[in-house]
Point group: C2
DNA sequence: CTGTTAGCGCTTTCAG
DNA sequence: CTGAAAGCGCTAACAG
């Protein structure tokens, strides 16, 4: 009834525990007939090695942590998909943690991971995060971290990102070509790499097209989507009402959409929106909401592969590998001037 | 540099390991001054107990497994949210596993969980699952399982579901009231409780409204969405073309939508669709796609709470607790006859 | 080829 | 109030 362990097998077979252990791991220093017997009994008793007993000895758990801002977001959902696929293939197990885009949560989670529960970490930073100090102790403990998408440039670990500058540039140009003159930029952070790059693309596209940059059209958003919607509503109701919105993450695109709905501002006639978004249901989107779609599944796979490479010590823990994948701009709705 | 453990603290303080252990767990049989010293040093050295060493002794890992068909689906994403929230609060950690709606994956995962990696399991079955035989060994090992949404009625564990019969009935009636005469039902399974109940609701609503039940309008779908779309396309192109579709899970609603798009069948004029769906972006949906929205977040919380209750032994492992929560029908688009 | 032994880091009797 | 010692299940030196 109770747990079958090496001891039980050893006793019933009248051999030593270590022989059983070795037989099961197909050691070359065990006789064929012994191996056979052991394997049979193990099979029959449905023996399953206790993973954590082994961890204790070998100092590796085959668990990794996945720390993301949210999961009800197609980008992260697809990334998780990719990560889980690689993990399952490589025999790793994935612990999931959500920060809800709060730095405090992120710090708490980081603290929890300091005790050896996991071998490595895949992470996408919160919008509030401004430095990686809270992750320093993890690297001190030689726990490798790979970041994807939401990264901070200064951190010396692996990173997987997309061509954020280009995407920001193209997204903005898309709105300009559709006739927008007053384009708002919704940011989640001043410090995240993606936020900076996307905004730089935005600024450069404006300049290139001789459209003055207006600070009042750049909105710093928070983890709280209700507040964000209020900010957007305020902007839309002000004399600065933009005719185009560039939402730098999915939930801000959705908030923008809701705000426009509430004010009965037709999309895309009155306001055009382009957002970073991986909604698989994109085809269901109201026309007028164009998107920058990142290859989330591949990014997840890439990040996991990179982490496992570090864990298998086939590269230095802190080697600064950087992978960049291309995003895709999906235009929807009229692109003509309104 | 390396790990601080009880031994290190004990040595620097010149007391025994067990005293340190006790001091840290605030045992009443340790002097205040000793406790103080220990706590200070622990704090200073940033001591974090190794969770798996404790697991080995106490036979509990504080890890739970979450096994779901998919994550790129708002229903499951929100449920994960709820589960993670409760887990974080209770000090549990969540290992995530995806079956992609394949029984084979589900069985493999179940086998992996047999070894004590987790204390308990929260699960939503794959569409292919017809029995819970592959989970029997888990319950034999006293690993409690709580199911949510995708359950099989015969299993003696906890379950969290919604009012599936009512929802199926109302969804069908919604289409009937909108003028539909030929309503297709897209099923993911013959065996899952939700599939049976939803279909029963569908059948009863038809009968009540004196609409003949037509077997050719009941489509059994698979985990493969491309195939499903083909099935739907075939149906829409046949002489049996329905004027209403009731999709029993989110991805089938999306597949239906895509199929209609491809055939340029206007929704909801030509074909009305109602689907179980928790798209947070529901407001973005094309009008005409009505939904049954389940309280996924609450269901996740409920399932997690139930599991933790079992784990804390405040109830029998196999007590058949059943919780049912109400869904909500969200009508979109015209409800008038076409 | 096989057994003995010593831990991995922690908790928990059992003695003082 | 504190320490010694056993042991959770497993692996890996070290002997034979």
């Amino acid at each position: 009834m109770d747990n079958v362990n090496l001891k039980k097998i050893a006793e019933t077979l009248n051999i030593s525990i270590s022989s059983v252990s070795r037989a099961l791991r197909d050691s070359h220093e065990i006789g064929e007939k012994t191996k056979q017997k052991v394997r049979e009994l193990a099979e029959q008793l449905n023996y399953m090695p206790n993973p954590y007993a082994g961890s204790l000895r070998k100092q590796r758990t085959r668990n990794i942590a996945l720390v993301v801002p949210e999961v009800a977001n197609n980008f992260f959902a697809m990334a998780i998909n990719g990560i889980e696929a690689v993990a399952q293939e490589k025999g790793y197990h994935v612990l999931i943690y959500l920060t809800h885009d709060y730095l405090e949560k992120e710090m708490e989670i980081a603290r929890h991971l300091l005790n050896g529960r996991v071998d490595g970490i895949i992470m996408s930073l919160s919008g509030e995060t401004v430095s990686t100090d809270h992750l320093q102790k993890l690297t001190d403990k030689e726990i490798p971290i790979v970041f994807f998408d939401r990264i901070i440039e200064t951190f010396s670990g692996g990173t997987v990102t997309t061509d954020d500058y280009d995407s920001g540039y193209k997204a903005t140009e898309h709105l300009i070509q559709a006739g927008c003159k007053d384009i708002a930029y919704l940011s989640i952070s001043k410090h995240l790499y993606i936020a900076q790059k996307r905004m730089q693309g935005y600024k450069d596209a404006l300049q290139k097209n001789k459209i003055p940059l207006r600070d009042e059209l750049i909105i710093q958003c928070s983890p709280d989507n209700n507040k964000n919607k209020e900010l957007i509503l305020k902007l839309l109701k002000s004399k600065n009402r933009p005719d185009g919105i560039f939402a730098s993450v999915e939930r801000l695109a959705i908030a923008s959409y809701h705000a426009c709905q509430e004010l009965k501002l037709h999309i895309p006639k009155k306001v055009k929106i382009i957002g970073f978004s991986n909604l698989e249901t994109a085809a269901l989107l109201n026309p007028g909401l164009s998107t920058i779609t990142q290859p989330a599944f591949d990014m997840g796979k890439e990040a996991a592969t990179m982490l496992f490479r570090k864990l298998e010590k086939r590269t230095t823990i802190n080697a600064s590998e950087k992978v960049e994948i291309k995003s895709e701009l999906v235009a929807r709705g009229s692109t003509k001037a309104s």
